[in-house]
Symmetry: C2
Subunit: 271 residues, 2 copies
């Protein structure tokens, strides 16, 4: 008789990283104006096949699929199935940035974890803990709460300083959200373009999973990100990998080389 | 030769209200555990047919459709088409609470306005103006930014007081977001369970569209909401209307009566 320990999101992320020797997450953001082939699933399949042994995770950005209607729905379904077929070690993050409360949040959790079969989902918690708790009912699945983002206008809300505690909104949010799970099922989205904030969040939450977009095209430095983010991270790159070449003859090989380059930069930060 | 003025979201909402003599919005939140019939589209069709002449708007809650996978996708598509067929006056709010930035937010706007054909969409602006501006590229469509919500944990983020201005986060957000449109294409989601905040937001923004959930099952008072919200509002009720009866023989008639009752309460607040 064997006893199976219930795993947490953090455990499963650790397995994905150790299996691949990598913390790279490939963002699957199909944009017909940039893709060298027309079929979204064929494009994704080529990228996945070319990179899967070098990466810990894939992150489909739901917006791009939703914009294509039914065709996008079908392509996303086939893409996630293909990842499960060829890369059983890989972690799948649904970058859907869902948020709501009560039975509506339960329905989003069902959509993301049961229908789409993702391991984790990005969520907004502007409505507080009520938006996150329903996702935590799935023991070994998790959420990455959007916390400190890379975009210019992120400061409008995230940098407001709480007169009572002196924390900025994103810090107050992080403290509240990380506190909801003692098993590593709540992580944070922290943009790579704010290294000081990344360092301070890592100090506050040494064990929590961070999903870090914003390296490459968006300006974040991968080596510094890896150094400051330390162990429990996924460093995401989308455009820098999948559109490394926009030629149909070599976009998959170029994607592989871009992942190798990113791994090299990350290794520099780890030394 | 006729000149067609470009309409704003506020204009179109005004038309929907004056055509129906109503500011009621019916939330289409199909929940298989509560529905007296099994087919989501047939359920929605019966509710729409029974209520459309008495209401200004319909608001499908996307989470419930997404949780059903492909069947939900199909039911939502048929539902919106049916609203357009039988209720040309009605305004359609996609309650999808989307949010992202840049070309990702553009993709969500395309999904909501072009694929789904909604007139407006609910959005989160935790990432600031960058999350809203792409939706405003569609001249006569608009957004309702989630601002002050009815749920208990809303205070965790929304009530943080800005040490610089003394505004709470939801007030700071409202000021920033309303300022993005001078043509009435930005509205706010303001829960009915916080009447004082509703009154203060109306004083700050006398002309802006407010989408107000939280009456009925969630505890908000419809008469008071109508009095404080004044003219440019949609008062949403979901469960209180669509599950007024859970019997297959009369759920549509019960929904119509529930709308009539809600209209009566609203009229009391208007006196």
């Amino acid at each position: 008789m064997t006893t199976v320990a219930v795993q947490s999101m953090a455990d499963r992320l650790g397995f994905a990283r150790s299996s691949s020797g990598s913390c790279v997450c490939v963002g699957l953001d199909p944009d017909l104006s940039k893709m060298p082939v027309n079929d979204v699933f064929e494009f994704n399949r080529a990228i996945i096949d070319a990179t899967q042994d070098l990466v810990a995770a894939f992150k489909p950005q739901f917006a791009f699929y939703e914009a294509m209607g039914r065709a996008g729905f079908d392509a996303l379904e086939k893409t996630i199935r293909h990842i499960r077929d060829v890369a059983p070690h890989a972690f799948v993050v649904a970058d859907a940035k869902r948020g709501d409360i009560g039975n509506t949040a339960e329905a989003y959790a069902k959509a993301m974890f049961e229908f789409w079969g993702a391991d984790a989902v990005t969520v907004y918690a502007y409505q507080g803990s009520d938006s996150v708790l329903p996702f935590l009912e799935y023991g070994d699945h998790g959420v990455f709460v959007v916390c400190r983002t890379s975009n210019p206008s992120s400061v409008e809300v995230q940098d407001i300083v709480d007169e009572r505690t002196g924390d900025m909104v994103y810090e107050a949010l992080a403290k509240r959200m990380i506190g909801l799970s003692d098993s590593g099922n709540v992580g944070l989205v922290v943009g790579a373009t704010f290294p000081r904030e990344l360092a301070s969040l890592r100090t506050l939450f040494p064990e929590s999973p961070f999903l870090i977009p914003g390296v490459g095209a968006q300006g974040g430095d991968a080596a510094e990100t890896a150094r400051l983010g330390a162990e429990n991270i996924l460093i995401n790159s989308s455009r820098g990998i999948i559109y490394a070449s926009q030629s149909a003859s070599d976009f998959d090989e170029a994607a592989r080389r871009a992942v190798e380059d990113l791994r090299g930069e990350i290794a520099l930060g780890r030394r």
